[in-house]
Every structure is written in C-alpha cells, then in structure tokens.
C-alpha cells in the first residue's frame, strides 16, 4: 500500500534565514491517525505547509500518496483536505453557501455538493444554522464549519492544524468522534496541536519535531512504554525540555 506521506531528505529555509527543516525524513502510512508535535517554532507549521503544497521546496522530496508535490498537477489537491487553525471560510455566507462554494472548487458536481452538504450538516449538527451567516456563529460552530469544508470532497488524507482550539468540551468530543469515524472509513489523519490529552485520544502514531528534525517517531503505546511516561505531556517535556521557546 502507498504511503500517505513520504518525505525524504527535505530541507527548507525561508529567504535569508536559518534552515527551518534540515534533511528531514518521515513516512506516514495510509490509514494512520498521525500526530505531529513540537514546541513553538520547531517547524510544525512549515512542515504542514510543505506537505500540503502551500510552500515550495527545492531540496528533498515530498510525496503524497505516491505523487511528488514539487511541480504537481493541481488535481492532486483533491486527494487531501486541510483544516487550518484559522477560520478559512467566508463569514458573510451561510454554512450551506460556504459548503456549496468550496465543494465546487473541490471539483464536485451539483448533485454531489447537495448530497454531501446534507450529510455534513447532519453529522456535524449544523442543520439548524444552514442558512445563517457563519460570521455570527459561536467558536465551536465555526470549528465544525471549518472541518466540514475540508471534508466536502472525501479526501484520502486530512491535515488538521489545531482543529479544536477554543471550543468547549462537547464540541471537542464531537469533533474527535467524527475524525475517528472518518479514519475508520479510510481517511489518513495528520494532526498537529498543543492539546496533548486530545492527541492521546486521537493519535495512534506520534512524531515530535524540534529544531527542524524529527526527534521521535513511533506508536503512542511504544513511546510511552519506552520512555516510562504515562502521558504525552510528560514525554513532550522530557524530549524538548522546560525552557521557553519562541
């Protein structure tokens, strides 16, 4: 089976700055619930941007489901979905209108958009607000809309950047439950967050990145066992230290 993500010898630096990633290698198998963690400034966001093609790279290779992302065909974009940390939708439009628009951009037909919109509004409990402008929603509802847009086209790989930040416990549980359901249907989840308890619940495999390098990469169970820790937070502090980061 093709790896969801295959990164080889990837180096990256922003213009006239120190390298953010240095000779990085990482494989994420299809069907995994993969968590990428690290302190602020470790290179998580840069790595996510490189894996989604938002940043161009010159050195190394990034393959998504076997397709090299450098100079890729835009059609490859239909293979993955992105849930950015910031709300990335049109606040003036209703939930339904946002889903219709992004669905069209994802390459769905009118019929597919209609069906998928109804399904997602129901699954994510957004039916009652389908015609209301998203800008007036609570933080939790906005998070659900942000997620719904990313999965409109049934992506095979879903990138999640802090998908539950700022939401209440109920919404967090609902979102995590939905993500697990997606994974059971074959969607690979690549997740990054500072909510380490949430990550313990969601992720089956974990990598930590620091100073542009992957410092550990294994199943959660193995890592906790090897490092004699009972949670990700202890493991995180052990590996990255307690000093302030940028």
């Amino acid at each position: 089976m093709e790896a969801a993500i295959q990164i080889s010898d990837l180096s990256f630096r922003y213009q006239a700055q120190e390298p953010v990633l240095d000779q990085l290698n990482l494989t994420i198998e299809a069907g995994e619930r993969f968590g990428l963690f690290g302190p602020n400034g470790a290179g998580k966001t840069t790595l996510m941007s490189l894996m989604t093609g938002l940043l161009p790279y010159k050195t190394g290779s990034v393959k998504l489901l076997g397709y090299e992302l450098r100079g890729r065909d835009r059609k490859i974009n239909s293979l993955f979905g992105l849930v950015p940390q910031d709300f990335s939708f049109y606040p003036e439009l209703s939930t339904e209108e946002n889903l219709q628009f992004f669905g069209a951009w994802a390459g769905l037909t009118k019929k597919e958009i209609r069906e998928k919109t109804n399904e997602l509004l129901s699954v994510l409990s957004l039916e009652k607000v389908r015609t209301r402008a998203v800008g007036k929603f609570s933080g939790g509802m906005k998070r659900r809309v942000n997620l719904a847009i990313a999965v409109m086209h049934d992506p095979r790989v879903l990138f999640l950047d802090e998908p539950t930040v700022g939401v209440d416990v109920q919404t967090r549980h609902a979102i995590i439950h939905y993500l697990k359901q997606l994974n059971q249907h074959g969607t690979t989840l690549i997740y990054t967050s500072h909510q380490l308890h949430e990550a313990e619940d969601l992720c089956t495999r974990v990598a930590m990145i620091d100073e542009g390098k992957i410092i550990i990469n294994d199943t959660l169970t193995n890592l906790l066992h090897q490092h004699k820790q009972d949670g990700l937070e202890g493991l995180f502090l052990e590996l990255t230290g307690r000093a302030y980061r940028s």
Partner: protein, 433 residues
Amino acid sequence: MFRLWSTIIKDLRILTRDKVGLTLMFLMPVVLTIVITSVQNGTFEMVNNNKVAIILDNRDADASAGGSASASRELVKTIEEAGMFTIAERGPYKNEQEVRDQMYKKEILVAVVIPPTYSQDVMARAQSVARKALKDISGEKNTASGEGDSLAPLQLLYHPTLQLSFRRSIEGALGSVLQVVQSKYIVKSLYKAINEENIPDSVESQIVGQQTEIIPVAVSRDGNRGNPNATQHNIPAWTVFAMFFIVISLGSSIVREKRSGSFLRLRTLPTHFGVAMVSKQITYILITLLQAVVIFGLGIFLFPHIGLPALILPGDITALVLVTLLCGWCATSFAICVGVYANTQEQANGFGAVSIVLLAAIGGLLVPSFAMPEGFRYIMKLSPLHWCMEAYYGLFLEGGKLGDILMNIIPLLVITLAFQVVAWWGLKRKRLV
C-alpha cells in the same frame, strides 16, 4: 465553467451583503452626479441666461450735473442693455468704503465705479481722435498734442470668492460695453466734424449698433449634436469616477479574503486560483456596467424632471457599450492590483480612495485638461481615468463612432493589461498563484 459560475455567485452574494459597500458604489456617484451637474448647470445658467447683479456707482460729474449727453449715462444704458448684468444698487455713495460695505450687506459680488471725469474723458478722446482723423484725411501734418488720449480707469470691485474665470468674463463684457460707448462718441465727433451737424439716430445705430452676431456651434463628428451642457459633461465623467471607486469595495474584499485564510484554503483545492481572479473581474465589471446604466438612466429620465438638461446618448451604442466595458475592466484591474498589494483593509481603502481622487485630478476629471499646466498634460496621459473620459467625450460630446475613439481605447487597453500583469506578478510573489 461550474466552478467559475459558483465563484461568481459567491462574489455576488458577498457583495450584496455589504450594504455600506453597495451604498458607496451606487448612491455616492448618483448624489455626486446630481449635485455637481446641478451646481455646474447653475453656473452655466447664471453666465448664459441669468444676469449678474452689480452695484453701480456713477461718480461722473456730467451725470450728476444732469447733462443729457453724458457718456456715463450712455455707459449705464449700454451695461443694462448688454444682457449680462442687472443693476441691483445704484449710488451715489460717499466713498469706495461705502460701496464695499454695500457689497457685503447686499451680498453682491461685483461693483462698478464710474470715475468722475468719465464723460469728460470720453468726449475729449473722441474729439481728439476726430481731429487727428480729419488732419490725416486733409493731408495736414498732425501737430495735435496727446490731450484727450488718456482715460481715467473704471474701477471693478469684486468679492474675493469670485472665481478668476468668472471675473475675466465680467471684465470682458464690461470691456465690450466701454468700447461700444467710446466708439459711439468717436463716430459722433467725426460725423459732426465732417458734416457740422449731429449724427442722426438712425445713422448712429447703423454704424455703432449693428454688430456681427456670434453663433456658437459645437463641432461634433456626426453634425447633429446639440450644444454641450453640464449633463453631457458630467454624466460620463462621474460615471468613470464611480467605476474606479469600486477600488474601495473590491480592494478591501481581496485583502479580507487574503487575511481570513479563504485564499489559503483555495490554494489547497484542485481549482486554479486564476478562477477566483476571473470571477472577481466578471462580477465587478457587471457592477460597473450596472453603475453606468443607473447613472445614464438618471441623466435620461430624472434630470429633465429636476430642471437639468436630459442626457443624450451617443449614436453609436455599440461603441458606448464597448467603452463602458473597457472602463469597467480597467477599474476592476486597478482595484485588484490595490487589493493584491495592500496588507490591510485600511491600506486598501486609504490608498484606493486617495489614488482615485489623484488619478481623477491629473486625468482631467476635476479640472479640464486644456486648463492644466504644460507638465501635467504629459502626466495626465498616465491616468486611466483620462482615457476613459476622453473615449466617453468622443462619443457623448463629439458624436464620434468607434473608429473615432480608437486612439483613446488603445492606451486604455494597454494600461488595463499593465494592471493585470502587475496584479498577477503580485499574486505570484505572495504565492497565491
């Protein structure tokens, strides 16, 4: 095609929900067009149809002595008959200060003070000229002194708010009136010197009274345009201004989408980002077309009901549509440029508004291009608003056809394409395409 259509629908939905933006785009140009056309039409009416109220202070000694042949009386009569002035107040006033006070009190902008020696000077000059002329005719050596050659000046007091151009037209009209009176007296003196009797009224009016009539004819290409009026001037100009003012709405819309992360998400989807830009252009070109329809409709249907001249559309409607489309495309391209390069909505709004006013000013929209300083005549060619307006004027004022305005359309097209390239480069630099 479905993706483009969905994007256009999205853009239209966002646009129609931005009430302030819509108000700016439609209400602002409508108000501007009505107000400025009314004001300019009022000025036009005042200069051409209404009379300018003046204070006349006749200090001429002959007039006050009741002399029937007083040149100043003749001057006053000619001023009244000239058609441009109405004498609101007559002296005598004790001094110039009293005239000034009266001007402020009665809110009269102009006062004419006839000097005490006016009749005497005019008579002396007329006789002097007549004498010289007779000597010339008889071949005698002209030994006449310069006596009678100088005339005491007539004083024109004006309110400081009076515009220079308007003051010049008053000076011109008064100059003509003075010339008529002086010519009349010279003719009278000559006639008397030759015939040793006074000139009969009928002969005098034939010699002095009948002037060659001036018929102003606007040179239009189609030959059937009426005289240009404030409506024909203002409607095209403010339509162009309104079109370019979409920079406020479109520029800040692009910045909003950049900052909200919507653009970022679009980049992760399989549709080319260019679709978003094409959609914006189609949507906003539609808006500019609608603006033009509204403003032209206003000129055609509303203006006659509010006492303004009705707008007469050009004969070549195809050219009108094409020019409107091009102006809209240019305005949209400029707004996209602003949106792409601005980092905040404040930057887009501030720069957008100021740049449009500047481009309008250097483009000849606020001040006629012929009245601009020499240097600005080259700079104005850089303003897209100048070419838009020239193309419209070619149709609305000159009655031209598409072929006649090609030389205005080509630079407009070049500027538009330049905006497109600059916007595309900016999108590339910001990794949006």
